[in-house]
Symmetry: C2
């Protein structure tokens, strides 16, 4: 049920003709209140899509009554016509639901450069058919409608004490969020104001979506939105709510990683004993973006030399000749020298765990990535054709 | 003839048994003088191989009498034993040639972590057989002996007025030098002191090897060495020498790009009208490291949206909605909106030219890269097995 698990929400997904497959491609989520508090984080890519530009304006007052999402076209780099399309989409939702267009977030996903007249016509028709189809059981339909190259919908629910959080996500490629990720909609019936939601959302995404780096390519359309209906009447403590929200985001992030385009391994890069958390993130991300290491994991080759070569390109604090690397439980490198034989490492499981011990401090961070495979190349060399 | 084109040099390449293929794997280049001036630039990776640590000490006084290079093992992350091996290798060369070990540069290439007793024994035996085989016709043999996954040797010669420069290079993967690249040895019979050589070498590599970024992965063993014999007795102007040296480095860099592992396209990313040269380099490098764009080029798909998404992740000065992108002569994006149809772009030629117009200044830079192909994944998932 995901986004309709929490009380006070209705959702749906409909076929608007944007996807050539004929599958559903416009999703709508309505906050029925009594509260309309909301928060959102957006891609830090300077090349922002039109729906991002629109939604950044909408979120300014912390009030959101509905969010509309389409797959089948990113409406990015489509000029002022594309921005008008995002605006018109919000207005269509506002008219259909009797709410202000200024309280409607808009998200789009698909190919950059797609957002012309045909796109606009189909999105607006999709809104017209989605509005009357809203249902308090419609969460799954909405999750299906935002899929692009995803092989399965991503949904998660976390239960609080008298309140709950539900969320849906899409994303399989261009998966390296800077401040947010893909399209994610999270709903809660907790009674919290927008500043509280914003604080909790930034804390949760910072250690979940922000640490997912599947292919090093940051999207133009990333958006994570959190809508609170207050329908439970319960105000949890910020600690409890942030912990639950973080667990939900981590669940969705793992689902995104597991379904990354063409991947055959989910690689968990854990950096420990770093001088700072940002050092640990920098080291993990450098390894996560090293094509040679990612190709080696695809080949079930525990090539720790490529891990050290990637670490060496960072500015993090460490002694390059006093680092340990452990792959799936086997310490293959100790203090920068070969340790246990690489042949002892079993990389046939889908989960590959890389533990990097920098030995200079007490901070740590984990980055999630995927391997570089033939299927990744195939899927991304044929995507727009 | 490459490194033996200039007067005053002898070279050779011999089989030392480091390569399982039985091909030659130890190269030796001797400067016969009368001058022994030299300069070198090294990888900026903090994870530096033992031969780099040795050679950085050797180059301190600007005097080099010989350089010995091996393929079949990087001698990186092999601890103090590995450093002693580099030292012993230089001593063996010194003894065999009657020169100081402190004037012998050492270079290694191959797998990280390879550099144990067997490696040491074979390298030292290789030196013993190489020394008596030195020949003023031996440049090509030396170029063959430094190859790893290279499909062909890389050699170049530039003629000055009464002097000449020759060079050889190896490198096909882990090809993203930060301050140097791969293994490159350049010789000249021009009469220049080491400070002049250093200035010219840094100027030349800055705009050639430094702008080659095939796969975003910086090596631990990169070294470019320039040895001057002074045998021509001619001292060219610094402008003339730097121009010739830059032309030679550009020639070798193009050969490296053309032979990059698994590549099916050589991608030339030209960024113009940038606010600064460093902005142009940052923009070009970001596109060069975007796996989605590189996979699209492999699929002959002129996916300009991925170009703009990559540019948007940089800190360069530009208006994200006023950028033009031209691919192989077809302007597919004008001021951040679709322009000519992408179908008009022919990406079947091996050379792909991407022109990015930032429209904010007068600076420019060109980055060389390759596409992301099935063969790249195949070669790098199987390399160490």
């Amino acid at each position: 049920m995901s986004v309709t698990r929490a009380a006070g929400f209705a959702a749906t997904g409909v076929v608007a003709g944007l996807k050539s497959t004929g599958k559903s491609d416009v999703a709508l989520v309505r906050n029925l209140g009594p509260s309309s508090a909301a928060a959102a984080v957006f891609t830090s890519n300077r090349a922002k899509a039109n729906p991002i530009l629109w939604s950044q304006a909408v979120i300014g007052d912390g009030v959101v009554s509905a969010i509309v999402l389409n797959s089948g076209g990113a409406n990015c780099y489509t000029g002022s016509f594309g921005f008008q399309t995002s605006h018109l989409t919000a207005e269509a939702v506002g008219e259909a639901l009797g709410i202000s267009a200024g309280d409607v977030l808009v998200c789009s996903t698909g190919l950059i450069g797609v957002g012309g007249q045909d796109f606009r016509d189909k999105v607006l028709a999709g809104v017209a058919s989605a509005a009357p189809a809203l249902s308090e059981e419609g969460g799954h339909d909405a999750a299906l409608a935002i899929m692009t190259t995803d092989s399965k919908p991503k949904e998660a629910v976390v239960e609080g004490d008298g309140w709950s959080i539900g969320g849906m996500a899409k994303g399989a490629g261009m998966l390296a969020p800077g401040l947010a990720t893909m399209l994610v909609v999270i709903t809660t019936d907790a009674l919290l104001h927008s500043e509280q939601l914003d604080t909790a959302l930034r804390a949760a995404t910072h250690v979940t979506f922000d640490r997912l780096d599947s292919d090093g390519c940051m999207s133009t359309n990333d958006q994570v939105s959190l809508l609170a209906s207050g329908a439970s009447g319960v105000t949890p403590t910020m600690d409890d709510f942030t912990a639950a929200l973080t667990a939900l985001c981590a669940d969705l992030a793992k689902q995104l990683q597991a379904d990354a385009e063409g991947a055959s391994h989910e690689i968990v890069i854990e950096t420990i004993n770093a001088a700072s958390e940002s050092d640990a993130v920098e080291v993990g991300r450098s390894v996560a973006r090293n094509n040679l290491f990612k190709a080696a994991v695809f080949g079930n080759d525990p090539n720790w030399g490529r891990v050290l070569a990637a670490i060496g390109t960072t500015g993090a604090e460490f002694d390059p000749y006093d680092i340990d690397v452990t792959i799936n439980g086997v310490r293959v490198c100790k203090s920068g020298e070969p340790d246990e034989p690489a042949e002892n490492v079993d990389l046939t499981p889908r989960i590959a765990h890389v533990l990097i011990d920098l030995k200079v401090g007490a901070a740590e961070a984990t980055i999630l990535t995927n391997d570089l495979t033939h299927d990744y190349v195939h899927e991304n060399s044929a995507y727009s054709s």
